[in-house]
Symmetry: C2
Protein backbone atom coordinates (compact mmCIF):
# COMPACT_ATOMS: atom_id res chain seq x y z
CA UNK A 1 0.00 0.00 0.00
CA UNK A 2 1.37 3.43 -0.91
CA UNK A 3 2.23 5.89 1.84
CA UNK A 4 -0.61 8.23 0.79
CA UNK A 5 -3.06 5.34 1.06
CA UNK A 6 -1.78 4.44 4.52
CA UNK A 7 -2.25 8.03 5.66
CA UNK A 8 -5.76 8.08 4.16
CA UNK A 9 -6.65 4.84 5.89
CA UNK A 10 -5.27 6.12 9.19
CA UNK A 11 -7.23 9.35 8.87
CA UNK A 12 -10.39 7.48 7.94
CA UNK A 13 -9.92 5.18 10.92
CA UNK A 14 -9.47 8.14 13.26
CA UNK A 15 -12.59 9.80 11.83
CA UNK A 16 -14.54 6.58 12.23
CA UNK A 17 -13.48 6.07 15.82
CA UNK A 18 -14.42 9.67 16.63
CA UNK A 19 -17.76 9.17 14.88
CA UNK A 20 -18.27 5.96 16.82
CA UNK A 21 -17.66 7.68 20.12
CA UNK A 22 -20.30 10.30 19.38
CA UNK A 23 -22.78 7.99 17.66
CA UNK A 24 -22.87 5.48 20.48
CA UNK A 25 -24.90 7.85 22.61
CA UNK A 26 -27.65 7.86 19.98
CA UNK A 27 -27.81 4.12 19.34
CA UNK A 28 -27.34 1.22 21.72
CA UNK A 29 -23.94 1.97 23.24
CA UNK A 30 -22.64 -1.56 23.11
CA UNK A 31 -23.44 -5.20 22.71
CA UNK A 32 -22.96 -6.94 26.04
CA UNK A 33 -22.84 -10.43 27.49
CA UNK A 34 -26.27 -9.71 28.91
CA UNK A 35 -27.65 -9.30 25.38
CA UNK A 36 -26.09 -12.56 24.30
CA UNK A 37 -27.13 -14.57 27.34
CA UNK A 38 -30.66 -13.19 27.30
CA UNK A 39 -31.19 -14.49 23.77
CA UNK A 40 -29.31 -17.72 24.51
CA UNK A 41 -31.03 -18.51 27.81
CA UNK A 42 -33.36 -21.01 26.14
CA UNK A 43 -30.29 -22.90 24.89
CA UNK A 44 -28.99 -23.26 28.43
CA UNK A 45 -32.44 -24.46 29.47
CA UNK A 46 -32.37 -26.96 26.60
CA UNK A 47 -28.90 -28.16 27.61
CA UNK A 48 -30.22 -28.71 31.15
CA UNK A 49 -33.18 -30.71 29.86
CA UNK A 50 -35.62 -27.96 30.83
CA UNK A 51 -36.72 -26.59 27.47
CA UNK A 52 -37.36 -27.36 23.81
CA UNK A 53 -34.79 -26.98 21.06
CA UNK A 54 -37.18 -24.73 19.14
CA UNK A 55 -36.97 -21.91 21.68
CA UNK A 56 -33.19 -22.26 21.71
CA UNK A 57 -32.93 -22.00 17.92
CA UNK A 58 -35.30 -19.03 17.92
CA UNK A 59 -33.08 -17.32 20.50
CA UNK A 60 -29.94 -17.95 18.49
CA UNK A 61 -31.50 -16.44 15.38
CA UNK A 62 -32.79 -13.48 17.39
CA UNK A 63 -29.29 -12.95 18.72
CA UNK A 64 -27.82 -13.03 15.22
CA UNK A 65 -30.37 -10.49 13.99
CA UNK A 66 -29.82 -8.24 17.02
CA UNK A 67 -26.05 -8.31 16.50
CA UNK A 68 -26.48 -7.43 12.83
CA UNK A 69 -28.82 -4.54 13.68
CA UNK A 70 -26.29 -3.27 16.20
CA UNK A 71 -23.49 -3.41 13.62
CA UNK A 72 -25.80 -1.77 11.09
CA UNK A 73 -26.38 1.14 13.45
CA UNK A 74 -22.66 1.61 13.96
CA UNK A 75 -21.95 1.54 10.24
CA UNK A 76 -24.88 3.86 9.48
CA UNK A 77 -23.70 6.48 11.96
CA UNK A 78 -20.17 6.26 10.64
CA UNK A 79 -21.33 6.45 7.01
CA UNK A 80 -23.17 9.68 7.85
CA UNK A 81 -19.98 11.17 9.27
CA UNK A 82 -17.45 10.17 6.62
CA UNK A 83 -17.34 12.20 3.43
CA UNK A 84 -16.55 10.91 -0.02
CA UNK A 85 -18.06 7.45 0.28
CA UNK A 86 -18.95 5.85 -3.04
CA UNK A 87 -22.17 4.07 -2.10
CA UNK A 88 -22.12 1.86 -5.18
CA UNK A 89 -18.64 0.68 -4.25
CA UNK A 90 -19.69 0.18 -0.63
CA UNK A 91 -22.69 -1.86 -1.72
CA UNK A 92 -20.43 -4.36 -3.49
CA UNK A 93 -18.28 -5.08 -0.42
CA UNK A 94 -20.34 -8.05 0.85
CA UNK A 95 -20.17 -9.75 -2.55
CA UNK A 96 -16.50 -8.93 -3.10
CA UNK A 97 -15.52 -10.25 0.34
CA UNK A 98 -18.05 -13.11 0.16
CA UNK A 99 -19.46 -12.15 3.53
CA UNK A 100 -22.92 -11.31 4.82
CA UNK A 101 -22.48 -7.95 6.52
CA UNK A 102 -25.00 -5.13 7.00
CA UNK A 103 -24.83 -2.37 4.38
CA UNK A 104 -22.54 0.63 4.74
CA UNK A 105 -25.06 3.37 4.12
CA UNK A 106 -26.30 6.49 5.89
CA UNK A 107 -29.88 5.83 4.73
CA UNK A 108 -30.39 2.15 5.56
CA UNK A 109 -33.29 1.22 7.86
CA UNK A 110 -31.42 -0.89 10.41
CA UNK A 111 -34.65 -2.06 12.03
CA UNK A 112 -35.28 -4.08 8.86
CA UNK A 113 -31.89 -5.82 8.95
CA UNK A 114 -32.27 -9.47 9.88
Amino acid sequence: MARAQLVAVALAAAALLAAAASSEAAAAASFTCAHILSDMSACFAYARGDGPIGQCCYGVRSLDAAARRFACGCLKSAAASVTGLNLATAAKIPARCAVNIPPISASVDCSRVS
Copy 2:
Protein backbone atom coordinates in the same frame (compact mmCIF):
# COMPACT_ATOMS: atom_id res chain seq x y z
CA MET B 1 -44.28 -25.34 27.16
CA ALA B 2 -45.33 -26.63 30.58
CA ARG B 3 -45.46 -24.24 33.52
CA ALA B 4 -42.57 -26.01 35.24
CA GLN B 5 -40.46 -25.56 32.11
CA LEU B 6 -41.32 -21.87 31.93
CA VAL B 7 -40.25 -21.43 35.54
CA ALA B 8 -37.03 -23.34 34.88
CA VAL B 9 -36.29 -21.21 31.83
CA ALA B 10 -36.99 -18.01 33.78
CA LEU B 11 -34.72 -19.13 36.61
CA ALA B 12 -32.00 -20.12 34.16
CA ALA B 13 -32.31 -16.75 32.44
CA ALA B 14 -32.04 -14.92 35.75
CA ALA B 15 -28.98 -16.97 36.71
CA LEU B 16 -27.42 -16.30 33.33
CA LEU B 17 -27.98 -12.57 33.53
CA ALA B 18 -26.49 -12.51 37.02
CA ALA B 19 -23.53 -14.55 35.79
CA ALA B 20 -23.14 -12.19 32.85
CA ALA B 21 -23.02 -9.17 35.10
CA SER B 22 -20.22 -10.68 37.18
CA SER B 23 -18.33 -12.30 34.30
CA GLU B 24 -18.14 -9.14 32.24
CA ALA B 25 -15.51 -7.73 34.54
CA ALA B 26 -13.24 -10.66 33.75
CA ALA B 27 -13.65 -10.66 29.98
CA ALA B 28 -14.14 -7.77 27.59
CA ALA B 29 -17.13 -5.97 29.06
CA SER B 30 -18.86 -5.31 25.79
CA PHE B 31 -18.59 -5.17 22.05
CA THR B 32 -18.78 -1.55 20.95
CA CYS B 33 -19.14 0.48 17.77
CA ALA B 34 -15.47 1.32 18.18
CA HIS B 35 -14.59 -2.39 17.85
CA ILE B 36 -16.69 -2.68 14.72
CA LEU B 37 -15.47 0.49 13.07
CA SER B 38 -11.85 -0.22 13.90
CA ASP B 39 -12.01 -3.51 12.00
CA MET B 40 -14.17 -2.00 9.24
CA SER B 41 -12.09 1.15 8.71
CA ALA B 42 -10.37 -0.33 5.68
CA CYS B 43 -13.80 -0.86 4.10
CA PHE B 44 -14.60 2.82 4.47
CA ALA B 45 -11.22 3.62 2.95
CA TYR B 46 -12.02 1.25 0.08
CA ALA B 47 -15.43 2.87 -0.43
CA ARG B 48 -13.69 6.25 -0.63
CA GLY B 49 -11.24 4.98 -3.21
CA ASP B 50 -8.35 5.15 -0.75
CA GLY B 51 -7.58 1.51 -0.09
CA PRO B 52 -7.59 -2.03 -1.47
CA ILE B 53 -10.47 -4.47 -1.13
CA GLY B 54 -8.13 -7.03 0.42
CA GLN B 55 -7.59 -5.00 3.59
CA CYS B 56 -11.34 -4.44 3.82
CA CYS B 57 -12.12 -8.16 3.54
CA TYR B 58 -9.41 -8.96 6.08
CA GLY B 59 -10.99 -6.43 8.47
CA VAL B 60 -14.46 -7.91 8.00
CA ARG B 61 -13.19 -11.40 8.77
CA SER B 62 -11.25 -10.11 11.78
CA LEU B 63 -14.43 -8.47 13.03
CA ASP B 64 -16.39 -11.68 12.63
CA ALA B 65 -13.76 -13.64 14.55
CA ALA B 66 -13.56 -11.01 17.30
CA ALA B 67 -17.34 -11.03 17.69
CA ARG B 68 -17.35 -14.83 17.93
CA ARG B 69 -14.56 -14.79 20.53
CA PHE B 70 -16.51 -12.22 22.53
CA ALA B 71 -19.67 -14.36 22.41
CA CYS B 72 -17.57 -17.42 23.29
CA GLY B 73 -16.28 -15.68 26.42
CA CYS B 74 -19.82 -14.79 27.49
CA LEU B 75 -21.07 -18.34 26.96
CA LYS B 76 -18.01 -19.84 28.67
CA SER B 77 -18.48 -17.72 31.79
CA ALA B 78 -22.17 -18.52 31.90
CA ALA B 79 -21.55 -22.24 31.37
CA ALA B 80 -19.21 -22.22 34.36
CA SER B 81 -21.94 -20.67 36.51
CA VAL B 82 -24.95 -22.78 35.51
CA THR B 83 -25.29 -26.23 37.05
CA GLY B 84 -26.75 -29.29 35.36
CA LEU B 85 -25.66 -28.58 31.81
CA ASN B 86 -25.48 -31.66 29.60
CA LEU B 87 -22.40 -30.85 27.55
CA ALA B 88 -23.19 -33.48 24.92
CA THR B 89 -26.62 -31.92 24.42
CA ALA B 90 -25.09 -28.44 24.33
CA ALA B 91 -22.57 -29.54 21.73
CA LYS B 92 -25.36 -30.57 19.37
CA ILE B 93 -27.09 -27.16 19.42
CA PRO B 94 -25.26 -25.68 16.41
CA ALA B 95 -26.15 -28.69 14.25
CA ARG B 96 -29.74 -28.91 15.52
CA CYS B 97 -30.34 -25.20 14.89
CA ALA B 98 -28.24 -25.22 11.69
CA VAL B 99 -26.24 -22.25 12.94
CA ASN B 100 -22.55 -21.58 13.46
CA ILE B 101 -22.31 -20.41 17.06
CA PRO B 102 -19.41 -20.73 19.50
CA PRO B 103 -19.62 -23.74 21.82
CA ILE B 104 -21.44 -23.63 25.15
CA SER B 105 -18.71 -25.01 27.36
CA ALA B 106 -16.84 -23.98 30.48
CA SER B 107 -13.59 -25.45 29.14
CA VAL B 108 -13.41 -24.08 25.60
CA ASP B 109 -10.35 -22.04 24.61
CA CYS B 110 -12.06 -18.94 23.22
CA SER B 111 -8.79 -17.58 21.84
CA ARG B 112 -8.92 -20.41 19.29
CA VAL B 113 -12.42 -19.59 18.11
CA SER B 114 -12.39 -18.09 14.62
